[in-house]
């Protein structure tokens, strides 16, 4: 269990139960040192160990085959005592991961929530199977899911979430727990809001820029991944055709006396060369996955920007409403009608209202104005809170992104270096064989 902020203290529905001070403190602490004591990762090792196939009935009562992933957790301190206990484990399928993520998206709208790995293999080069059951795909997805959990566990806010904790530790009843939080209703309204069209007059410029950035990032990374897949495809072809040399050299060596040995061994090297491309491209697929993660992150970024627009819009609406009420009051008090209204017209036509009627209206308006001012104040606070907390998380995300992608580019260079070295070795070997011809 966690030491300080026990899960019960953290509200599972919305962030409004946390005081802003607590939230800010949480984030500040972890911003300074990523793996501070609030991080779940300090407490437990998390891994997604294996994958298995299961059969069962789906929602429309049809037989289906699906894959489940083994989540293993173990308290960190247990290991340091010299004895390594067996980890606790449970099985989860992809749809449960999706549910967890949707819950977190709704509950922490100011957080850029890490994306899940692809549901289906997309942007693959054609030799790589697009089949979800393909063992290589399942393996890569396993790695992606583990990465997802580790991202959540190291996030200063998300790691404290109770639902997340239970996802990791209790197999049964978790789904029901999630639905009991009532997040589904929030999810539906969130979805509506996401798709609604509205105009914000004064959005925070940083969020507007961020939205543009995430659109750009999505476009450029998609394109990069597509071309990379095509390049991989072609490279595969080049290497594999050399395998034909292996076969023909071998056959040819049978009819030659002096050249036979040289040809035969050269043929072996050609076979090895052709075979080497499989591992090379598999490794590159991991690089592609790293880029894909950030491609999928753009959706989360856009969601946060959208939430800002929504809260800003609500604030603007509340302010607008208040302003109109105030104006109505003024008109009533001074008797001047500045804006056209049917009431105003009818009263002009059918005579003024009585003093009592006016007084009653004024009372109502003043009540509304009071309420309106409260609402505006609330919305203002809400909006400020959101901007503050979201922007902190975004800065955190940006740093993480720069670090991770730099790492990825370096690993890509290393992969190319490795491929070149292999090429040098193979062709040097082949050259020596040709020399013996």
């Amino acid at each position: 269990m966690m030491a300080d902020s026990g899960p019960e203290e953290i509200a599972v529905i919305g962030n409004t139960d946390l005081t802003s001070a607590e939230l800010e403190n949480n984030i500040k602490n972890t911003m300074v040192e990523i793996e501070k004591w609030t991080s779940l990762l300090r407490k437990m090792e998390i891994s997604v160990g294996e994958a298995e196939k299961r059969t069962g009935k789906n929602t429309v009562n049809m037989q289906e085959i699906y894959t489940v992933y083994l989540i293993e957790t173990r308290p960190v301190d247990a290991v340091t005592e010299g004895i390594i206990p067996a980890p606790d484990s449970l099985w989860r399928r992809y749809s449960e991961f999706e549910l967890l993520r949707n819950y977190l998206l709704v509950t922490y709208p100011f957080v850029v929530v890490a994306p899940l790995p692809e549901k289906r293999a997309e942007i693959v080069w054609h030799k790589l199977s697009a089949d979800n059951m393909d063992p290589d795909f399942v393996e890569r997805r396993r790695v992606g899911l583990e990465n997802f959990l580790l991202r959540l566990a190291s996030h200063p806010v998300l790691c404290n979430d109770k639902i997340f904790y239970i996802f990791l530790t209790e197999e049964k009843g978790w789904k029901e727990m999630v639905y009991e939080t009532g997040f589904q209703a929030k999810a539906d309204s969130r979805l509506k809001a996401m798709n609604a069209a509205f105009r914000v007059k004064n959005p925070d410029k940083r969020f507007t820029e961020l939205k543009h950035y995430s659109d750009e990032l999505q476009t450029v990374v998609s394109q990069l991944l597509r071309v990379r897949a095509r390049v991989a495809d072609r490279l595969y072809g080049v290497y594999k055709v050399h395998g034909n040399y292996g076969r023909v050299f071998s056959e040819w060596s049978a009819i030659e006396k002096e050249m036979g040995d040289g040809l035969q061994s050269a043929g072996h090297h050609m076979d090895a060369y052709a075979a080497s491309v499989d591992d090379i491209l598999e490794e590159e697929e991991h690089y592609a996955d790293q880029l894909k993660e950030y491609l999928f992150y753009t959706e989360a970024l856009r969601a946060v920007c959208r939430k800002h627009e929504l809260t800003q819009f609500e604030l603007e609406m509340a302010a607008q409403d208040l302003a109109s009420k105030k104006q109505q009051k003024e008109e009533l008090v001074t008797g001047t009608v500045r804006t056209f209204s049917l009431k105003g017209m009818t009263s002009k036509l059918f005579g003024q209202e009585t003093a009592e009627q006016r007084e009653a209206k004024l009372q109502v308006l003043e009540q509304q104005i009071e309420e309106g001012e409260e609402a505006v104040k609330e919305k203002n606070t809400e909006s400020d809170e959101f901007v503050k907390t979201a922007w902190l998380d975004i800065e955190h995300f940006k740093d993480q992104k720069d670090r991770d992608l730099k790492e990825a580019l370096i690993s890509y260079a290393i992969m190319q270096i490795s491929r070149c070295k292999k090429g040098i070795q193979m062709w040097t070997n082949a050259k020596e064989c040709f020399n013996k011809m």
Partner: protein, 433 residues
């Protein structure tokens, strides 16, 4: 980054090849080309140096070694084919090539000749040589037509490929101890255009040549009865060789195709990183760095494909044609034997002038023996040439591939080095997965 292979040929030391190459069969023809270029500074009209001549590190070393090598025949004739020119007449358009000969041989009046020849002339020469020496192995000429049709004949690449093949053809003839003494060969190299035309008109007329062809067909239909074992062995080898070399030709052409397609995609890949860098701040430099690496690798890939097309593809293609030549030579030898056997049988069965027939049979028997010996001698020669040519071509290809990967390695290593020397604040931060 240290390399694991010490003996690797780095791009800056292309001449430092392991010494054991010198003991192997030398590719004499490539040496000829280089000897001409290095010796003949008098012919400084610029056309002499043809940058596209194959100058693999292997042959450059061979050149140096060759001058010290006393075992090989002293070269006394050097031929180059270059300078293609287009000629347009009312009837046709054709290309002529300049044929330059330098020789110290006594049968030539001059030591230098410069003539222009067209493909037809080469065909004529080959025909004459084969007629005179039907069981000698004459190096093939490049093919007459390109599959795609007329327009391709005047395409720059096609002309260059043909020029190289014609050059090789003449040099192989010049190398041959028997063929190079041919009068037709001498005339080909030395006669002016009109002289050659006159010369061509001499010799057996159309009808007598037809007669020869008819006899040849008749003989081949009859078939040979007692072919010596060694020629059967050669025939079986030629069949197999023909298959294998045909496959290698196809495989290599496929590799060139795949490599070119890879290059096309690669050219689009680098720019995607550049595009991305436009949206980034911290990452911009690195992304541009990766784009630059990919671009440089594109250049290297282009060079590598070019090398393959220039070096390996033509040689394999030549030996596909050689295989056909060999089959034809074996057929002709069979026909000679068949003719002898037929006459021999006639001696036993037909009622003819026995003395006259006997004399004819003796002549045919001599002819068979001469043909067999010629072929036997040339067969060894051809095999050595073949081994030399193919070994050299594959060696050159392997060397180029090593060079290619080394250059790409350097590109990525330089990039990696530039990343690792970034300010330490980047690397000291904890990395959360």
């Amino acid at each position: 980054m240290s390399r694991t292979i010490d003996a690797v040929v780095s791009p800056t030391q292309t001449n430092t090849i392991p010494a054991d190459i010198s003991g192997q069969m030398l590719d004499l023809d490539e040496d000829d080309d280089l000897e001409v270029f290095s010796k003949d500074l008098t012919l400084a009209d610029g056309n002499m140096f043809n940058a596209s001549m194959p100058t693999s590190p292997g042959s450059m070393v061979n050149q140096c070694k060759f001058e010290e090598d006393e075992e090989s025949d002293s070269k006394d004739i050097f031929i180059t084919v270059d300078n293609p020119e287009s000629h347009v007449t009312a009837i046709e358009t054709f290309i002529t090539y300049r044929v330059l000969t330098k020789t110290t041989r006594s049968e030539f009046d001059n030591s230098e000749y410069e003539v222009r020849r067209r493909y037809q002339d080469f065909l004529w020469l080959k025909g004459k040589l084969e007629d005179a020496h039907s069981t000698l192995i004459v190096h093939p000429l490049p093919e007459k037509f390109v599959v795609k049709g007329m327009v391709e004949r005047f395409n720059g690449d096609f002309i260059e490929t043909r020029r190289k093949a014609l050059h090789k053809f003449l040099n192989r003839v010049a190398d041959h101890p028997i063929l190079s003494c041919s009068e037709d060969f001498k005339v080909f190299l030395s006669a002016q255009a009109w002289e050659l035309t006159t010369y061509k008109k001499q010799g057996p007329g159309f009808l007598s040549r037809m007669g020869e062809t008819v006899r040849a067909v008749a003989n081949s239909v009859r078939g040979v009865k007692n072919r010596p074992e060694e020629f059967t062995a050669i025939q079986e080898y030629v069949e197999d060789f023909s298959n294998k070399i045909g496959s290698l030709d196809k495989v290599t052409q496929r590799i060139v195709k795949e490599q070119k397609e890879y290059l096309e995609e690669l050219k689009e890949y680098g720019p995607t990183y550049t595009l991305w860098s436009g949206s980034e701040e911290e990452l911009a430099e690195q992304l541009k760095g990766v784009a630059g690496c990919i671009e440089r690798c594109c250049k290297e890939t282009e060079e590598q494909v070019g090398h393959l097309s220039d070096t390996l593809v033509p040689v394999l293609h030549e030996y596909v044609l050689c295989a056909e030549t060999l089959k034809a030579v074996l057929r002709r030898r069979d026909n000679i034997q068949a003719e002898f056997e037929a006459k021999n049988e006639a001696l036993a069965t037909k009622k003819v002038d026995r003395d006259a027939l006997k004399e004819e049979i003796d002549k045919l028997e001599d002819r068979v023996e001469w043909a067999n010996n010629a072929l036997k001698g040339d067969w060894g020669r051809w095999q050595r040439s073949m081994r030399g040519d193919l070994k050299s071509a594959f060696l050159s290809t392997a060397e180029k591939n090593v060079d290619y990967y080394e250059k790409c390695l350097a590109v990525w290593e330089t990039f990696l080095l530039s990343q690792r020397t970034e300010p330490s604040e980047e690397t000291d931060r904890d990395n959360t997965p």
